[in-house]
């Protein structure tokens, strides 16, 4: 299969670039650690607030953190693409017979892999604080985070290919991802929110992913919200990949 081979080749190129830049590797590991050490301690007192779900502070907070990692870890990937547009790299690749879908998927897989590894580190580091989860739950959650990464990265690459400049890409990414994140109940559960806020959040696809992740961490693997969240992310990811591949196909660098 040409698409698989091309995707593997493109993945190899960008994974190599990532791995050879120690700064990114260190940031990738340190970031989740900072959240655990500097933010999570606030939670133990909040967990007693009425409306806060049961199951322990970490089992409520870590799922949100993972979703945030999936989204913010992928939202910035367009910056490197814009740099490549400027160097003529994308134009050079587009003149080769390489599959356009692979140009997107190979890169996105690199982003997903780094996000999944960071997520695993986060989960493992949270265990001594009192996080509890079973192995199947870990697999389901990682799959969910991978889908969020794929969704976000595909949109980010498409946006970078259309905008072609950091000056318009950066504001777009930051102004759009913040409300999406706040309206997903990532930091604190939406159960604490007033009704009007909950109604807006119901329109946000990411809130279903957060619900799914929380259900998994509370041990409710069979909960319909898990299927709902994973399926929604899968469908949106496919649409985003089509969008991103089209952007690679017609990009005018």
């Amino acid at each position: 299969m040409k698409v698989l081979r091309d995707t593997w080749l493109v993945f190899g190129r960008y994974w190599g670039l990532f791995i050879h830049n120690p700064v990114w590797v260190v940031i990738g590991v340190v970031q989740p650690l900072l959240y655990l050490l500097l933010f999570a301690p606030l939670l133990s007192s909040i967990a007693k607030t009425p409306g806060f779900p049961s199951g322990g502070a970490y089992n409520v907070f870590v799922p949100g953190l993972l979703v945030q990692l999936g989204m913010f870890g992928a939202a910035g990937v367009g910056f490197s693409l814009i740099a490549e547009l400027r160097m003529g790299v994308i134009e050079r690749l587009r003149v080769t017979p390489v599959s356009r879908v692979s140009l997107l998927l190979g890169r996105a897989l690199r982003d997903i892999l780094s996000i999944v590894v960071q997520s695993l580190i986060l989960i493992v580091l949270a265990l001594p604080f009192g996080l509890s989860i079973n192995p199947i739950g870990v697999v389901v959650v990682l799959a969910l985070i991978a889908l969020i990464g794929l969704l976000t990265a595909s949109i980010a690459y498409a946006a970078a290919l259309w905008l072609r400049s950091e000056d318009s890409y950066a504001p777009l990414i930051f102004t759009s991802s913040l409300p999406i994140l706040l309206l997903s109940g990532v930091l604190l559960p939406l159960g604490l929110a007033p009704q009007w806020l909950r109604s807006i959040a119901a329109l946000n696809p990411l809130s279903y992913a957060v619900d799914a992740a929380r259900a998994v961490f509370l041990g409710h693997l069979g909960n319909p919200s898990v299927v709902k969240g994973v399926a929604l992310m899968a469908v949106l990811s496919i649409l985003a990949v089509i969008l991103g591949a089209r952007a690679f196909g017609r990009a005018v660098a």
Partner: protein, 319 residues
């Protein structure tokens, strides 16, 4: 059809900006036979790069048809990509990657096995004399080394047709000469080279044929020699001891003289081929007993051609 690397009919490209429509390429018809070094000469913004990008499958044409490397550009872009190489103005190599890694990756994208791609990369590194820098990041390369690597990336799959967009812009004279040598070597191996340039000397020295493009239209096509001859012919100026009118009368009737004038004590003769006319002029004056004082030959430049065809000098517009 057979034997042509490129054939276009009415190739057009329109860009829509917020409040107006710009026709960057306004109907280009051209034929480039296989094996030629064909140059697209014109000022910045003339439509050179837009045409090149359409032919290289990077930009869909707004109208017209084109056969590139034997395939229909519109219907078989995939096959076109297999057969062409393209080196854009920006180059195409990533500053953070080693030259050899880039070459191997590029080979793999064209379907080579890892071993074959490594072998090809090593061959290209030797051919382009990049041994000293091949295993360093591209960020450390000199301008000339980077340009040679970018050309190598375009050559990985040994394409039958190579597009070079302003291959020597921004290079020092020595690196320019190296790039010219590489282009001539590709030509010797039978590769068709299609390049754009706004340098008159580059078009003149390197290209078998050139097309002069201005405002999205081709205004002249031919070999540099033909174009120059067609426009003006060579100019022979001479002066003699004493009887200038006699020399003028003698020479103006000669079949090889297109036009003759006298000016400031000199006879000015426009001739088709100065190097053939000069010995004949010497013999004629000699046998008529007229003694030469000075004789000079001036050949027209491509800038004269450009001036005649567009009403402007390329030297002025390029500045």
């Amino acid at each position: 059809m057979e034997g042509n690397a490129i054939e276009t009919r009415g190739l057009r490209r329109v860009f829509k900006t917020r409040n107006r429509v710009v026709e960057a390429v306004a109907g280009v018809d051209m034929t480039v036979p296989k094996g030629e070094i064909f140059g697209f000469l014109g000022p910045n913004g003339a439509g050179k790069t837009t045409t090149l990008r359409m032919l290289a499958t990077l930009l869909p044409p707004s109208g017209g048809t084109a056969m590139v490397a034997g395939c229909d550009l519109l219907k078989q872009p995939g096959q076109v990509r297999e057969r062409i190489g393209y080196v854009g103005q920006a180059g195409g190599s990533d500053r953070e990657i080693m030259g050899r890694t880039e070459l191997v990756f590029q080979g793999r994208l064209y379907g080579m096995s890892l071993a074959a791609a490594k072998k090809r990369a090593a061959d290209l590194i030797a051919m382009l004399e990049l041994e000293v820098c091949a295993d360093r990041k591209v960020a450390t390369y000199s301008g000339g080394q980077k340009r040679r690597l970018d050309i190598g990336l375009g050559l990985v799959h040994d394409p039958q047709l190579l597009f070079l967009d302003e291959p020597t812009t921004g290079l020092d004279p020595q690196s320019r000469a190296r790039v010219w040598d590489e282009v001539r070597r590709m030509h010797d191996r039978g590769t068709t080279v299609f390049l754009t340039t706004h340098y008159l000397d580059e078009a003149d020295a390197l290209c078998d044929r050139i097309a002069i493009i201005d405002h999205g239209k081709i205004v002249a096509v031919g070999s540099p020699e033909e174009l120059k001859r067609e426009v003006a012919g060579d100019l022979v100026t001479l002066s003699v001891v004493g009887n200038l009118p006699a020399a003028f009368d003698l020479l103006k009737g000669q079949p090889f003289v297109r036009e003759a004038t006298t000016e400031e004590g000199m006879v000015r003769l426009y001739v088709d081929r100065g190097e053939v006319a000069m010995p004949a002029i010497l013999r004629l004056l000699d046998s008529a007993g007229l003694q030469l004082v000075t004789i000079g030959l001036q050949r027209p430049s491509l800038d004269d051609v450009f001036l005649r065809k567009t009403g402007r000098s390329l030297r002025e517009t390029a500045a």
